[in-house]
Symmetry: C2
Subunit: 287 residues, 2 copies
């Protein structure tokens, strides 16, 4: 089966000399139609292969959120970086209760592969964002698959950290905005990991950045994390001090910046998104 089968460009808009596109395709991994967004900088529109940052959004968001709200496209255009934005979960899987809670099911896929029924048939965002989506988007757009970064916000920050630590040769640069660093130890994570992976906590470790660091997984580049100190989820769900402690113990280079007054919103994300892209560009040897 051809990965580009049933691929549809839903929207295409010139932007900052490049182009924003929203695609829909039939995902083999998810067993459903799925959507993603792409920003191609002017260099890519001109046919040049460019490095690419995958940006994972948080709970309740979609493939549109980061592209619309991060205000990062001018800087991506300037740096010659592409951005790819997957959705945050499968849509329309038909799992009972998947639309009931905003922090579970639809819009809350946690970038992992569920092993528990009834989620395991479709909730496979882990394989989707690390295999199917890169293979597809890098086949249809002029992206340099040897220079690939990953970032994300909140649940997406969790996804970025986890996948970069699991596959540091695949994701060469990594950053996060207000990430869930230790889902195994906080309410959002406990709820999702229990449902998707079962009650056996050992299975959770592969999807927990702090546990991965404790188990010896590190990333060769510096991890950049920004966190607002007025974030309404800081104490209960985010707890970045666990990441600091685990990184220090593992010898992982980490730049964790606390920003006075900033909250959990995209007003916070957009304030630092251009700096994150410069971090990725520098690690990826661009610009």
């Amino acid at each position: 089966m051809n990965d580009t089968a049933e691929l549809q460009v839903r929207e295409e808009h010139p932007c900052h000399g490049g182009v924003v596109r929203f695609y829909e395709h039939t995902s083999r991994v998810l067993g459903l139609r799925a959507r993603f967004g792409v920003f191609l900088p002017p260099a890519a529109v001109a046919g040049q292969k460019v490095p690419v940052v995958y940006a994972l959004a948080g709970l309740t968001c979609t493939e549109e959120t980061f592209l619309i709200k991060s205000a990062a496209l001018a800087e991506a255009a300037r740096l010659g970086l592409a951005i790819v934005t997957p959705d945050t979960s499968p849509r329309g899987a038909g799992v009972e209760g998947e639309d009931k809670d905003w922090d579970m099911g639809t819009g809350a896929g946690f970038y992992l592969d569920a092993t528990q029924a009834p989620w395991s048939d479709h909730y496979r965002m882990g394989t989707y964002i690390t295999q199917e989506l890169p293979a597809l988007v890098e086949a249809i757009c002029p992206l340099d698959g040897t220079r690939r970064g990953i970032t994300g916000h909140s649940m997406g920050g969790h996804g970025a950290l986890v996948h970069a630590l699991r596959a540091p040769a695949f994701w060469k640069s990594v950053s996060a905005f207000a990430p869930i660093v230790h889902p195994a130890a906080v309410p959002w994570g406990e709820k999702a990991l229990t449902a998707y992976l079962g009650t056996e906590r050992e299975a959770w470790q592969q999807y927990d950045a702090v546990c991965l660091l404790e188990a010896g997984h590190t990333h060769p580049s510096t991890i950049l994390v920004d966190q607002g100190d007025a974030d309404q989820f800081l104490e209960r769900e985010l707890q970045p001090w666990h990441l600091e402690k685990a990184a220090a113990a593992a010898g992982q280079k980490l730049t964790l910046r606390r920003h006075a007054g900033y909250d959990h919103s995209y007003w916070f994300v957009q304030s630092f998104a251009a700096e994150h892209l410069r971090h990725h560009a520098q690690v990826l040897g661009q610009g």
Copy 2:
């Protein structure tokens, strides 16, 4: 009655070293609760009076749209410019049919004062954005009322051009993205002006930028207009050549730039919003 009575801050978010706020208040002019947004740059947060650009959104939009989608706040922060964003119409006026069409009534106030029943009781966005809102927001925020600019997109571009030409001493700088330049001659405008102002076309001229130029109204600064040449509304609703012709005849300085491939969306607006802010800053003697 105190203009700041019943003023409520609905949201406040630090952003780019400044702050985004969304307010709600009781508008005497509209006779309803009304919402608006403000971005204050770092200089204003530090207490300094800063110049301000009022940004008017287009059909179906709200006070949130420009702040979320223009990606202009980093540049506003850098330049030390505030941005004020009114809503696009009264909300909940209770006029029969006001929610029926997307180009009439709710979300489509056209920045004018309706004279025709049943619209005339509440649809008074003209006086609202030129008197009540500036008096209110400049009383509660450190804004320099002697350095005030106006911009807008589509219907909001119409509003910006019209009000700048009607009161050039009040609005010292002016720009527009894909504006409706000649509403009296296009379907969107004919529909709205007929409903709001009646069938007597002479009454329409005060709310039509081309008619105002033809009647001798000019602005002392250069008007900056950006227009995508792939804009889906270009031929039917926007017709910027009327503005070029009228400006040339009136001796009005106009920079009208056509952009190959760009459409009518905020992906277009965000591509040029920073340049518009630099235009305003330059005319307002800032930065």
